[in-house]
Symmetry: C2
Subunit: 374 residues, 2 copies
C-alpha cells in the first residue's frame, strides 16, 4: 500500500471552509482504496500565519511543504493584511512558488457541466464546448527579472523591469505542455502564445517551443498566436484555442484569468502549480510536487457564512491525485461526482447551486453530496 | 475659411476600398461647410510602397505626413510581404508612429447601434451599453526599451526586453486620457490598468497617474485595476470599465484588441494615434497631428471584391475631424449618419449590413447612403 503525505494550507477567508470539503473528499477516496493511503496534515500560511507568527510563510510550514508529496491550498489574503499592511500574504505565495521550483501553472477552463451554460457571459453557442488548459510559466519572465524602482539612482525619474527567458526555462515548460497534451486521447493541440513581432524574449520563446516539440514530440500539432489576437479569440471564438494554451508568465496571468470567467463563476475552477512535468499514470510514474488551489480569492465578504462554492477546491484535489500522485481513477471519480451534482435532474444529476450561481446550497451540503456519490 | 491638409494612405488589401468611402464622406462635409475646407492628397505606404519604391515608408510619404494636419490610413500588409519577406510593412508603421511622436492611441469600443447587439459574442444584456475608450501609451514601454536577442553575447541562451517608463511619458498620456474624459458631459471615469503588485514600471505608472490627476484634474474619478482583473471584467462585466481605460503599451495592445470584439465585427471600429492631447473644440483649439485608421487589417481574402465594411474607416474620419481639426459638428454628423444606416427600420434607420455582419450591402453602397444622409 502506497502512503502519500499531503500538506493542507487552508489559509484565510473562505479558504478553510472550501478546503474542509476537499479534505473530506480526499479522505473518502483514501478510505475507499486498498492501494493507497493519504496522510493529511494542516499548516498555517498567509494572513493567519502573519497573525500568529509574524510572517506569511513560517519555516515550519515551508519545511512541511518541502517534504510533502503534494500541497492542497485554500486562499490567502484579506483586508486585514491589505496594501498598507507592513507584512502581506502575497510575498509568501511568490516565495513558496519560487522555493519549491513550481514553474508550471496549469489552469483548465471548461464547463464542468453543460447546465452551467446559462451562467456564462458568452452566448451559449460560443461557450458550449470550450475546453482549454492554460499552461503558464510561473517563475520566470518579467515577474522575476531584474528591476529598478522609481526614485533609485542613476535615473530617478525612470522605472523598469526585465522580461527575460532562457532556452532551458522555455524547454521545460514546453515539455509540461506536451505531457498534458499527450495525456488526452486524441492528444490535444498546442497553441503557443507570444508577442514575437515585437519582443526578443518572445522570439526565443517561439523558436524553443517550435524546436522542442519538433524534436521531442513530433506527433503534436502546434500553432503560434500573438497575445493580442489570442485575447480576441478567447472572447469571440474560444473553441479555436481548445487544447493547451502554452505561454509565458505575464501573458499567462492575463489569459488564464480572462478565460476563467467563461464558466460563469470563479468558484468552479481548479489550478495546479508543478515542479515538473506530470508523468503518465503508469508503472513508471514519477511523483511531482505541486500546489493545488482553487483560482478564486479569499472572498472576505462571505467568509464564515458557509455559502462558498467548494467545487474549485474539490477539483483541485482531483488534479492533485492525477498530477502529483498518479492516481487517475479516483481523480476521474471526483470529477464525475462534481458533474453529477451540477447536472440538472433531466440529465441525471442533482442541479445543486451555491450562492455564486444564484442557488442556496451551502458549502457543507455540496461536499456531503459529492462524498455520498463517491 | 480654414484650410486643412489631410494626407491619405490607402495602403494594401481592402485599405483602398474602405478609404475611398471615408474620403467621399470627408469631401462631402467639406463641400457642405463654409467654415473650413479639406485638401486631401494620397500617398503610398505599406506593401504597395515596398513594391514601387523598395521601402514601406518612402521619404516623400513621411515628409507629406509630417506636414499634414492629419493622416487618414486604410490598412497595410498581406501575404506578399509576409513573415519571410525581406522588407515588411509593419516596421514602416512603427517608424511612422515613432517619428511623428504619436504617443496616444485612442480606441473606442462601443456598439454604434443597439441593432448590433445580436452580433456580439457576449450575451446581449452584458454587451448592451458597453462604452469604453482605451487610451494606450504607444511609443514607450517594452515596445521600445532595450532588448537582447537569443544568440547574442554574453549569454547566448537568454533573450530579454526592458519594460521602461519615465515620469514624463506617463504624465503626458495621463493628460490625454483626462482631456478625453473631460470632453464628455458628465466627464468619464478613468480606469488605470497596471500590474503594480509585481512590476516596478507599473508602480511608477500608478503613482504618476494618481498624482497627475489629483493635481491637474481633481474633478475626475480614478480607480486602479490590475491587468489580469481588467481582462476578466472585459468579458464578465465590461460596463464596469465604461469610461476611459488608461494603460501602457503592451497591456493596451492586449486589452484594446480584447474589447474590440465586443461589437461583433472588427470592421466597425475606428482608432486614432495622436501626438498630443486633443484640446477642447473651442476658440483656443490647438491642432494635434494624428493617424486615423480602422482597427481591422488588410483582409487580403476579400480585397477587390467591394464587400468590406467601410464603417471603421468612416468613423476614423469622424475622429480625425474631432481630435485633429477641432470640428465637433461634422464629426457628430458622421457618427449620427453611421448610426442611421445601422439602426433597424423600426428604430428609424436603414438596417444596412455588409458581409462581415452577414449582409450583402457593398462597400460603395454603404458609403453612398452615409453621403446621402449627410
Ligand atoms: C497575486 C499575483 C502576484 C499573482 C500573479 O500575478 O501571479 C496572481 O494574480 C496569480 O495569478 O496567482
Ligand atoms: C503590428 C503590431 C506591432 C501592432 C502593435 O502591437 O502595436 C498591432 O498589434 C497594433 O496594435 O497596432
Amino acid at each position: 500500500m502506497l502512503t502519500f503525505r499531503i500538506v493542507v494550507l487552508p489559509g484565510d477567508g473562505i479558504g478553510p471552509e472550501v478546503v474542509a470539503e476537499a479534505v473530506r473528499v480526499l479522505q473518502t477516496v483514501s478510505e475507499l482504496s486498498s492501494d493507497f493511503e493519504l496522510k493529511l496534515e494542516s499548516h498555517e500560511f498567509g494572513g493567519c500565519a502573519i497573525d500568529s507568527t509574524g510572517e506569511p510563510l513560517p519555516p515550519s510550514t515551508l519545511k512541511a511543504c518541502q517534504e510533502a508529496d503534494a500541497i492542497l491550498m485554500g486562499s490567502i489574503g484579506g483586508p486585514k493584511w491589505g496594501v498598507n499592511a507592513k507584512v502581506r500574504p502575497e510575498p509568501g505565495l511568490l516565495a513558496l512558488r519560487k522555493t519549491l521550483g513550481l514553474y508550471a501553472n496549469i489552469r483548465p477552463a471548461n464547463l464542468a457541466s453543460d447546465s452551467l451554460l446559462e451562467y456564462s457571459p458568452l452566448r451559449p453557442e460560443i461557450a458550449k464546448g470550450v475546453d482549454m488548459i492554460v499552461v503558464r510559466e510561473l517563475i520566470g519572465g518579467v515577474y522575476f527579472g531584474t528591476r529598478k524602482e522609481q526614485g533609485v539612482a542613476p535615473d530617478e525619474e525612470v522605472a523598469w523591469d526585465t522580461m527575460i527567458y532562457s532556452v532551458q526555462e522555455v524547454q521545460r515548460i514546453t515539455r509540461v505542455a506536451a505531457q498534458i497534451a499527450l495525456a488526452a486521447d486524441p492528444p490535444l493541440d498546442i497553441h503557443s502564445v507570444d508577442k514575437a513581432n515585437v519582443l526578443a524574449s518572445s522570439r526565443l520563446w517561439r523558436k524553443v517551443v517550435t524546436e522542442t516539440l519538433k524534436n521531442e514530440f513530433p506527433q503534436l500539432k502546434l500553432d503560434h498566436q500573438l497575445v493580442d489576437s489570442a485575447a480576441m479569440f478567447i472572447v469571440s471564438n474560444p473553441k479555436k484555442l481548445n487544447g493547451v494554451i502554452l505561454t509565458e508568465n505575464l501573458f499567462g496571468d492575463i489569459l488564464s484569468d480572462q478565460s476563467s470567467v467563461i464558466p460563469g463563476s470563479l468558484g468552479l475552477l481548479p489550478s495546479a502549480s508543478l515542479a515538473g512535468a506530470p508523468s503518465a499514470p503508469s508503472a513508471d510514474f514519477k511523483p511531482t510536487s505541486g500546489i493545488y488551489e482553487p483560482i478564486h480569492g479569499s472572498a472576505p465578504d462571505i467568509a464564515g457564512q458557509g455559502i462558498a462554492n467548494p467545487i474549485g477546491t474539490i477539483l483541485s484535489a482531483a488534479m492533485l491525485l492525477r498530477y502529483s500522485l498518479g492516481l487517475e481513477k479516483p481523480a476521474k471519480a471526483i470529477e464525475n461526482a462534481v458533474r453529477k451534482v451540477l447536472d440538472l435532474p433531466e440529465a441525471g444529476g442533482f442541479g445543486l447551486r451555491t450562492a455564486d450561481l444564484g442557488g442556496n446550497v451551502g458549502t457543507k451540503e455540496l461536499g456531503n453530496r459529492i462524498v455520498d456519490i463517491l
